[in-house]
Amino acid sequence: RALGGGLGEEAFEEIEGVLIQADLGVDTTQSLIAFLRAAARLHHVGDTETLIGLLKEELARILEQGDHAATWDGGGGPHVTLIAGVNGSGKTTTAGKLAARLHREGKSVMLGAADTFRAAAAEQLTVWSERVGIPIVKHQEGADPAAVAFDATDAAVSRRVDCLLIDTAGRLHTKVNLMEEIRKIRRVVQKRIPSAPHEVLLVLDATTGQNGLQQARIFTEAIEVTGIVLTKLDGTAKGGIVVAIQQELGIPIKFIGVGESIDDLQPFNPREFIEALFS
C-alpha cells in the first residue's frame, strides 16, 4: 500500500536490502525500518529520496553520540593506548599508523610490542617503529605479554614519553585464557599508571559480519573498550555493524583504516560514513 505520493512497500524493501548488505544486521535494520515507517507517516513522505534523507539523519543521530575525538592527554604522565581485537583485524598496522599520526602532531611516541606469540609479530611492529623513527619496547618471542606491557609503560614513564601505544596479539573473544591474558595486560598497565590505559581501542575489520557485535561485547566486558578503529574501509565492505555496537554498547568509532600505508588512518566522520553506506 502506498503511503501517499509515490512511496510504496518496495521503497522500504529496497532500503532493507541496502542496510542488511551493509552489515547493519537484522535487529538494527528492523528498528530503523520501523522508525522510517513512523516518520514517513508523520511527515507525509511521498518519495524515496526524502525517505532516505530521513534515514541518514537518524543514522547520524545514532553515530554522533559519544565522544569520537580521541584525546591524548595523560594527565601529567604518558597517555597509554591499548590496542586489541581478533586475529588479522589490523591492530599492528593501526598501531604503526597511529604512532605516525601522533608523531606528526609533535608528540613523543613509543610503541610496546606485547604480541609475543605470533611468528615475527615483534619484527612487524619494529618495521613500523623504524618508519616513524620512534622507540619500541619488545621482548623475546614467547615472553609474557603482560611483562612487555609493564616494561613499556614503565619505560614510557621514565623517558617522559607523551604517548605509548601497546599492540597486543590477535585473540578470539571465545578463548577464555586469552581474554584473561588481555585482562591481565590491562591490569599491569594500570598498576604502573593508575589512570591508564587512557584509551582502549578495539580494532575491527570492516569485512566482519554480525560476529563483530559479539566481539565488541566480550572485549568491552573484559577490558572496557573506549573506541573502535574500523579497518579496511578501502575495500567494498561497509562495516555497518558499528551502528549496532554504538547503539547497544555506546562505543564510538574513533578512527577508520583506509589502506596499508602509513597515512591511511583517518578520524571517524559520521556523515561521510553514512554517505558511503548508500553509495
Partner: protein, 292 residues
C-alpha cells in the same frame, strides 16, 4: 533458539494436512532472519527461501514429526546440498612439483594456512616448499620463514625487494634443487578492487599455472563475501576455498556465498592458530552452525 521459535510458529500446523506457502509464512520468516543473522548473503537468502518454499509447498504434514522439524529438515538438507562434498581432496599433479597458491583479502590467515598445509602434506610423506611472495607487508617473508621452521619444512624467497612473479617462477627451480615435490605460494593480502594487485595474481597464475588456487577467507566475513569471492573467481581459476577462524563463534554464513560464487568446494577449515589446526570441512556440521 530457532527451533523453539519455529515450534511456536508451527504449532497450529498439525491437522492442516499439508504445508502451504500461507501456513509456512511465519516460520519461513524466522528462518530468513536466522540466515541473515548468520551472515548468509541477502540475495542468496531471498533465493534460498524461495527454493525451500517450493520444495516444501504441497508436502504432506507428516504426523510422526513436528511440522517445524519437517521444515528445518528441508532447510538443513538444502544447505547441505549447496555446500556439497565434504571430502574434496587437494589436487596432486601428475608430474611434480604440485603447485598450490593461496590468495585472499588482507589478514584472513593465508600465511598461517600455508604453514598448516605444509604440516598436513608433510604428515602424508610429501616434501613441501613454502614460498614467500608477499613483498609488501612488513616482515611477511620473515613470518613465513619462522612458520617453515616451526613446521620443519623448507622455505624460499628472493626478499622484499624482488618481484612476486619472479619469486614464484624461481621457486620451481628451487623446489627441484631441494627435492621438494610440492610448492606452496603465500601471496600478499589484496583487495579485489585493487586493479594492480589483482593484475599481479593473474600474472603469477599465468607464469606458473598452479594446480590448486585456494581462496582463503575468514568465517566471520559478512555480506561482503559475495563481492570479494566474485572478483577473485573472475580473475583466477580458483579450485577451492579455505575458511579460517572456525574456532570462533561466527555462524559462518559466508560459507554459502563463497561456495555458490566460486563454484568451488571448501577444502579445509582453520580451527586455531597452531599449525596443526587444519581440519576437513563438514557440510552437515556447518549447516547446523549456520542455522544456530
Amino acid at each position: 533458539s530457532l527451533s523453539q521459535k519455529l515450534e511456536n510458529a508451527f504449532k497450529n500446523l498439525r491437522g492442516q494436512g499439508k504445508l502451504t506457502e500461507k501456513n509456512m509464512k511465519e516460520g519461513l520468516q524466522l528462518i530468513r532472519m536466522a540466515l541473515l543473522e548468520a551472515d548468509v548473503n541477502y540475495k542468496v537468502v531471498k533465493q534460498f527461501i524461495a527454493d525451500v518454499t517450493e520444495a516444501a509447498d504441497g508436502q504432506r504434514v507428516i504426523d510422526s514429526i513436528r511440522p517445524d522439524q519437517q521444515i528445518v529438515k528441508i532447510v538443513h538438507d538444502e544447505l547441505v546440498k549447496i555446500m556439497g562434498g565434504s571430502n574434496a581432496p587437494l589436487i596432486t599433479a601428475e608430474k611434480a612439483p604440485t603447485i598450490i597458491m593461496l590468495v585472499g583479502l588482507q589478514g584472513q590467515g593465508k600465511t598461517t594456512t600455508a604453514g598448516k598445509l605444509a604440516v598436513h602434506l608433510k604428515k602424508k610423506g610429501r616434501k613441501p616448499l613454502l614460498v614467500g611472495a608477499d613483498v609488501y607487508r612488513p616482515a611477511a617473508i620473515r613470518q613465513l620463514e619462522v612458520i617453515a621452521g616451526q613446521a620443519g619444512v623448507e622455505s624460499f624467497s628472493l626478499g622484499e625487494h624482488a618481484n612476486p612473479v619472479d619469486i614464484c617462477v624461481m621457486s620451481r627451480g628451487e623446489a627441484q634443487m631441494r627435492g621438494c615435490d610440492t610448492i606452496i605460494l603465500d601471496t600478499a593480502g589484496r583487495l579485489h578492487v585493487d586493479d594492480a594487485m589483482m593484475a599481479e595474481v593473474r600474472q603469477i597464475q599465468k607464469a606458473v599455472t598452479p594446480h590448486e588456487i585456494l581462496f582463503v577467507a575468514n568465517a566471520m566475513t559478512g555480506q561482503d563475501a559475495v563481492n570479494s569471492a566474485k572478483q577473485f573467481h573472475d580473475n583466477l581459476p580458483l579450485t577451492g576455498v579455505i575458511l579460517t577462524q572456525m574456532d570462533g563463534d561466527a555462524r559462518g554464513g559466508a560459507a554459502i556465498s563463497l561456495i555458490q560464487i566460486t563454484g568451488c568446494p571448501i577444502k579445509f577449515v582453520g580451527t586455531g592458530e597452531k599449525l596443526e589446526a587444519l581440519d576437513a570441512f563438514h557440510p552437515q556440521r556447518m549447516a547446523d552452525q549456520i542455522l544456530g
